[in-house]
């Protein structure tokens, strides 16, 4: 592999200007001591000139014993930019909530500086620390050093992808369950499924502590766990008064924006018809000092979100309206549910079909029947509008009156 030589990048240079921190500056900084990045800059400048990417399609590389965690990447212009001929990424499983110490970060940096390009994504869209650019030979050494320091790879391919969670109880008063603990617990419980792709397609878990959904789980995860409560919103009427006194227009900003119109304000105190509340969070968001979620907390379990390819994007849909998430019991109820879903998916999923698409194909009604979950109206926006009902039984002429045939 030849050394990257410095070349002019007039187009990229324009992206060094402006107030927002520049990824080009980041690249140039590393290019000084990393030929791989010097050549990457060259190739990228060529892309900017030609208006097209210069990477070849995929490439299977990885570490022994794992099926995922590394994305192979080869340049289609290795002749011009030999230093970035190989430019694989390594996905390192981030800690819950993306909390670090400077020490931990330095360890990661040192490993990557020694064996890779020195460039990273902190973080990738799924949540991993993404280490951008290394060669196949470096993969095993990287893996060894990572595991020695207590780090492991994340997911890629048709496996459990690296779960992620909002900072939840660590730094948010709204958290209705321990997102950080559950994300860690689940990540550990499914290490095999995470590292050795054996599914029909990818499977993403995301954990948000409340319906604000700060990790966008409802839009981006096959299995989304969103905290909620089922008792009454806690109200501190003194704090309500304080907000009012400080000039907040409670009627306009809170009461009238409540989507269920279940709130009232008489100028002094707030009243909530909690049976009508749909737990949207708005009022709590606006008045965090005065309003708090209830104490009977847990989560809504939703299933099947994904990006559009190929049947159109899906938002996750309600599977269990409320589940107590029992740490002491090691989240067993949740894990039992996952086991049943995966069993179903194993049997009915077809290759490259996410669970959301699979459920649409077989029908939500059939899906829940197979996994042993009762149909309830909370699962639908509204019951069916078309009359095409697949009744499963009918009477046969010979049947005794009242007897149904399967």
């Amino acid at each position: 592999m030849a050394t990257g030589k410095k070349i002019d990048t007039p187009l990229l240079d324009q992206l060094e200007k402006g107030p927002w921190p520049s990824f080009v500056k980041e690249l140039k900084g590393m290019a000084v001591r990393k030929p791989m990045i010097q050549d990457l800059l060259g190739q990228l400048e060529m892309s900017y000139r030609e208006k097209r990417g210069h990477w070849k399609h995929g490439g299977l590389v990885g570490v022994m014993g794992y099926g995922g965690g590394v994305i192979g990447r080869y340049s289609d212009s290795a002749d011009k930019f030999p230093a970035c001929a190989h430019f694989h990424t390594v996905r390192v499983n981030q800690p819950s909530g993306w909390f670090y110490t400077s020490k931990a970060l330095r360890e990661l940096c040192d490993i990557w500086d020694a064996h890779g390009s020195g460039m990273t994504n902190m973080h990738g869209s799924t949540g991993d620390c993404v280490f951008l650019g290394t060669t196949s030979e470096e993969l095993e050494p990287i893996f060894k050093e990572l595991t020695d320091k207590g780090w492991d790879l994340g997911g890629s391919g048709s496996d459990v992808r690296t779960p992620s969670c909002c900072n939840g109880p660590a730094r948010c008063e709204y958290a209705c369950y321990d997102t950080m603990d559950m994300c860690y617990n689940i990540t550990m419980a499914y290490q095999d499924e995470l590292h050795r792709p054996a599914f029909a397609y990818k499977w993403k878990f995301k954990f948000s502590g409340c319906p604000n959904d700060c990790v966008a789980s409802i839009a981006r995860s096959d299995l989304s766990v969103i905290g909620t409560w089922r008792d009454d919103i806690r109200i501190d009427q003194n704090a309500v008064k304080a907000y009012a006194d400080s000039g907040m227009d409670i009627r306009a900003d809170v009461i009238r924006k409540c989507p269920t119109a279940c709130m009232g304000f008489d100028g002094k105190a707030i009243k909530i018809d909690n049976k009508q509340c749909n737990h949207c969070m708005h009022c709590i968001n606006v008045m965090p000092k005065a309003l708090r979620p209830g104490k009977d907390t847990g989560a809504t379990i939703l299933i099947g979100a994904k990006a559009p390819i190929i049947e159109g994007a899906l938002l996750a849909s309600v599977l269990v309206p409320f589940m107590k998430l029992d740490k002491e019991d090691d989240y067993q109820e949740f894990k039992d549910l996952i086991a049943k879903i995966w069993e179903f998916w194993d049997e009915h999923g077809v290759s490259r079909e996410r669970i959301g698409e699979c459920i649409q194909r077989v029908g939500l009604g059939n899906f829940i029947e197979e996994i042993g979950v009762e149909p309830i109206p909370e699962m639908v926006m509204h019951p069916r509008t078309n009359p095409y009902i697949f009744y499963e039984e009918y009477f046969e002429e010979g049947d005794a009156e009242g007897a149904e045939e399967a």
Binding site: T228, R230, L315, V318, N366, P375, M381, P383, Y394, F395
Partner: protein, 362 residues
Amino acid sequence: MAEPAAPKKKTDIGPPHYEQFLHPVVKKNYGKWKYHEYLKPGVLVHVAESGDKIFSVRAGSPRLISVDTIRLFADLAEKYCGGHLRFTSRNNVEFMTDQQKNIDPLIKDLNAKGYPVGGTNNSISNIIHTQGWVHCHSAATDVSGVVKAMMDELYEYFVEAKLPHKLKLAAACCLNMCGAVHCSDIAILGIHRRPPKINDATVANVCEIPTTVSSCPTAAIRPTTVNGKASVQIDEDRCMFCANCFTVCPAMPIADPLNDGISIWVGGKVSNARTEPMFTKLAVPFIPNNPPRWPEVTDVVKNIVKVYASDAHKYERLGEWIDRIGWPKFFSMTGLEFTKYHIDDFKHAGETYKRSTHIKFQ
């Protein structure tokens, strides 16, 4: 050899022009009405910009009526309305007069003959319905009977205007839904529940096999040969009993006494008032036919009406009420069972799954 020209037939004359049928006060104030008021159930007054008034008295009709009854209506129209009357888009008959004093005697005469006056304002008006066993080959139930049984039970809501808002009912005898079932506050729908039985002996004679095969929306029908004759066969697991194949192929009758019956639907509307028009949604997937009075069906409907009446806000249509309280509450308040059949599994099924955490806990 040219045939001798037949005497030229009168065709394409269209309906008579409506103007000749209008009450003089209507004709005079045509397009110049100012407002209306409800005088009592079944009685409207429309006031024109000129100050003229026209009073309308609305009477319930079974729609399936004889010429003798029509003549009776004609008699009454002559006695009180200068011969002017009309029918409404819900098959009620409306008598129009400019004489307020005629209203009560007219109502008395109508009542004496068995015709109730009502159906205006916040009431249940007549039920839109279809042919049933009286005239259609496709019927899975007899809607004339169901409607009569229902209106007997809901009578009070026709003659009084005591509901939160208008409540529009419709009934249809098969999935063709000749009427307004797909967009009514409450709808009754005759429904088959067993795949068509194929008359292999006659399929080839009376049906076009490719048309029959392609008529099936779920691709459940395949061509086959039975005893050397071309026929079709049905993959029963794929059949959702739509009867579309029967419509194009008479040798595939789907009606079946043991399995035909009724489904109940709620929460549709047509008007654009406040909310956009809405489709009806499934409330009860199946109740077996129980003529002549379908008591299980009328019970469910009456109960839904009562719960709606007790819980909805003023001016809230049934579907708007459910939207406010939520479907879980609707099912718990009415005591109806929610089953997997309520969960859509047709073309746009996914669009009906609940895609948010907006949940009310009860």
